[in-house]
Point group: C2
Chain length 646, copies 2
Amino acid sequence: MNIDDKNGMTVQVRNTDFKPRRSLTNWLIGKPLQTADAPHQTIGKLIGLAVFSSDAMSSVAYGPQELMMMLAAAGMASLQYSLPLVLGIVGLLTILTISYQQTIHAYPDGGGAYIVARDNIGVVPAQIAGAALLTDYILTVAVSISAGVAQIVSAFPEIFRWRVEIAVFFIMFIMLINLRGVKESGITFAIPTYFFVVVMYMTIIVGLVRYFSGTLGLVTNPPELTILAEPQALSLFLILKAFASGTASVTGVEAISNGITAFREPRSKNAGTTLIFMAMILGSMLIGVTFLAGKVAAIPSEHETLVSQIARTVFEGRGILYLATIVGTTVILVMAANTAFADFPRLGALTAKDGFLPRQLTYRGSRLVYSRGIAALAIIASILVIIFQANVSRLIPLYAIGVFLSFSLSQGGMAHRWWKSGHLKPGEEKIEPGSVVRFEKTWLLKMIINGFGAVVTFFVMIIFAVTKFADGAWVVVILLPILVLIFITIHRHYVNLAAHLSLEKYAGQHHIGRHRVIVPIAGVHQGTIKALKYAESLSKDVTAVHVSIDDDEAIKLQNKWETWGDGVRLVILESPYRLMIEPLIDYVTEFSLNRLENEMITIVIPQFIPHRFWTNALHMRTADTIRKVLLGQKDIVIVEVPYQVD
Amino acid sequence: MNIDDKNGMTVQVRNTDFKPRRSLTNWLIGKPLQTADAPHQTIGKLIGLAVFSSDAMSSVAYGPQELMMMLAAAGMASLQYSLPLVLGIVGLLTILTISYQQTIHAYPDGGGAYIVARDNIGVVPAQIAGAALLTDYILTVAVSISAGVAQIVSAFPEIFRWRVEIAVFFIMFIMLINLRGVKESGITFAIPTYFFVVVMYMTIIVGLVRYFSGTLGLVTNPPELTILAEPQALSLFLILKAFASGTASVTGVEAISNGITAFREPRSKNAGTTLIFMAMILGSMLIGVTFLAGKVAAIPSEHETLVSQIARTVFEGRGILYLATIVGTTVILVMAANTAFADFPRLGALTAKDGFLPRQLTYRGSRLVYSRGIAALAIIASILVIIFQANVSRLIPLYAIGVFLSFSLSQGGMAHRWWKSGHLKPGEEKIEPGSVVRFEKTWLLKMIINGFGAVVTFFVMIIFAVTKFADGAWVVVILLPILVLIFITIHRHYVNLAAHLSLEKYAGQHHIGRHRVIVPIAGVHQGTIKALKYAESLSKDVTAVHVSIDDDEAIKLQNKWETWGDGVRLVILESPYRLMIEPLIDYVTEFSLNRLENEMITIVIPQFIPHRFWTNALHMRTADTIRKVLLGQKDIVIVEVPYQVD
């Protein structure tokens, strides 16, 4: 279509349909999708629970185990404290659930920690939340996949030595799935999630029935105890450390508040209800697993998981029900990793759109997914898995700091928001960047609830950082401020650039009165003459420049120039130290200093374009170097006149 | 100076004195030298012998040993054949000496195999000789350094495990010396060479005196025998194989004929006499070492060299004289490697000047040496040393084929030359490319001498290739034709290019009647406007093109364009699959197809130049990609208007 606007200017809009070419990538990740293909579908509570809870629920597979492994440093007797500690963690889960209920209702368009902190506290807290969440997502992948492989290893101990390879394979597999970006129907999530819920409840219920009927035995051939710390007396420090390990169980609770837009209307209500269901399922599983672990005298070990020990005791051996439990647990862990593959690139793109990460992360690849973010996540997570040898216990100390930091910032932001809404008149609205604050009658109660959540999660984070500092938490403590600094530096670059390039206070461009043209030549041939003719079409003021490292060659060139040079002035720069670039740059700079206000200096470079790529290696590529160096000089335009030879 | 020539055209010649900047390289290899600094000094016979014979004489250190090691496969008794075989090798040496005498007198300006083959046989044989010599130089470095390290290891067995590292260190050290390119005074060569000659003769003479006076004992604690082949009965094949190993002793004999120009006048006579001295010294040493090795019952072994075993038996222990022998031998071997560092880059530059290797090899670095050739040699030789674990016996099978192939081509070329000179009239001269053939009365005798040399060396090469084929010679047999093919392909490229670019039959350039300009824009800002103004100064026919992957952005851009676009036509290309480059290329191609004969299409690209290098990573660099792709299209000129932000 053509739009003729009032000034008579023509703006022409053309539809093209260029697709990426067929390639190996195409085959692996599927055919390209149009921008308009992005799907918009909403889901109900049942499917929503499946989609958003794999991260949280899967932590049943490693949370209690890590807690017990830590306690075991003070002897097997101290394992009696596991259940009280897990109850404490379920308390924490309850606080989080109540807190997030309020977020879900206040942010029907999705209230992740980054957005809530950005809207209600400020830029730096938002970037802290962003950095915390991004590291958290990476660790979610590493931890979940490692825990998933640990399940498989429990059932098939002979593959223990391949665990790192298997873990990396899983990550690559999930990466491919996500690069395809097939919008999974909810059913894809529902089947494995509910399968897990069913087998896990079955294990727990059968276990409880057998325990109370007195037929539950102890674990036969228990694995070797894995000891994480020096044997020591039970101390408050050790108990806090065990508690910190256990808090890994509540990671993932925030997922629903990030994804509210996916729910069917009334979406806040649906999402809120789903969150409560999820918390109830997770809490009951945590208690059930921990209780049974104590009763069957399971041994926390890296060679066989608690879930495996409980299941084979409850089901009396490695039968079909045992295997179902292992499969269900493995699958839910892999799906938890998959969740991070959705969240990391999305948050990366959001942060990049705000200008705190490279803008390339906002670009959606041929399958409409943020491919660069997906690839980055897979690579970093794989590196972590390799460094830590797919060992959950060694990864955990890096894990939960980011999670609790983002919880705390998010709840703190909500508290501040309620405080503001309490200071409005009834019915008044205040439009803030990114959100609208409305008057709220019960603001004080709500502020106290979120404030309490913020304080509690903040203290959990401190406990975690202090008790786990030496075990690896220091990495995150150092990394997070560095990341925030990088984000802010990137942002400053974009803001400065935009300000400098802005047309708002732009006085306009000098009129170009005259072109002065320099043509660097290495020899006199068709390529050079072509460039010379082009230069002459730009201006009457053309100078050819030759850097000479060989007197005989220079004389030959001079003679040829008399025939072919069209009367254009030739400057020969003798270079006794055989440098090709420096004398030319110097000449151009001198030339440039003498120019008038409205003169434009243009360098016309004859550029040889090799027919075959390997012939590149047979040429000095001086033209490339000249181009690169001169582009950096101020206000010099580079013209490349290519000459090809077939 | 300004030269106003007859057409009123000004050619201006300027002297500059740009030196490479101070840098780490500077510090390592010394301050830059001017082209005019290249030294020209000549040397006499005494110094000439020292400069050119290290390669040949040093082979005493490994030639007899490799020969004996091979014989030992048929039991220790077969070592009695070593002396006869070495006498055969000395016979070969004599033939070569007589042959090369004639080359030296016919080529007073230097008659390496490459030049002789090029002038007298043809291009392909010259390239075969070139390829053979270049591989030979690489192997000279690898073999000599490995043999040198073997001497050190003989004296200090505890460093056996570090031999590869030491060898690579030596190569890097020699590389640095050669990159400095300090023109060593002859004395630098004379001292170590004559030191070696003295200690080696001393060892041999003392050994002979003690043998004939009956006081020479046997080697005490001889090292373990190194067995290279399966134990087998003595066969003709094994004897030929042992002979082939021994021929490594005559490598380096051609050095003087390459370097005649370095000699004082009458240079052919001086060089010829020096060659005879060298052959006599080498021959006598070979016989002496082999004779004594037999008498002291030395064991060929990779853990202790023959020279070391003889020296400690002759001098009764590892005293000062023993150490002097080891040091002398090691130093001469290192100097042999050094010779290759002079020859390889020089031959590389010569071949490159003829257009058979990348022209960059003709470029002399800041110290007036062919730095790229030197670095290439060091790197390839180091890789060989690492692959073959600095083991002389494993390197030898690759070594002598190239040497004898070049001997044979060189002597064959001489024979052909004599044949031609026999067919001239007395006093007649025939000017051939690169040399003058004069009438020669004794042409038949001379032809027979060189022809015999050619045939003998050819057969030695065949013997070598056949007997050592399975041990590694196959690598060279395959490699040489490939190298020759590469050389010829490179040459074809340069020749074609020169023909295509030649102005000889050049009809001249179309007159540029009109510029049609396209400005690809990603946004409307100061950078874009600057490019737009430049485009407008080139032509009235300017079109701005924007590839849109986001409708909202496109509308914003359109609005801004109405304000800032100067009435220039804007084309928006919608790209539903989010490809940035392809729609633009397609548009330009279509545009290009519609142009008239004398229209020139110019793409003006606004190019963002980041202030700091890391900010590169924060931009899409689409402009770079557009430039690269469009440069490859025929007859499209690329203009880059840079915009910098500080």
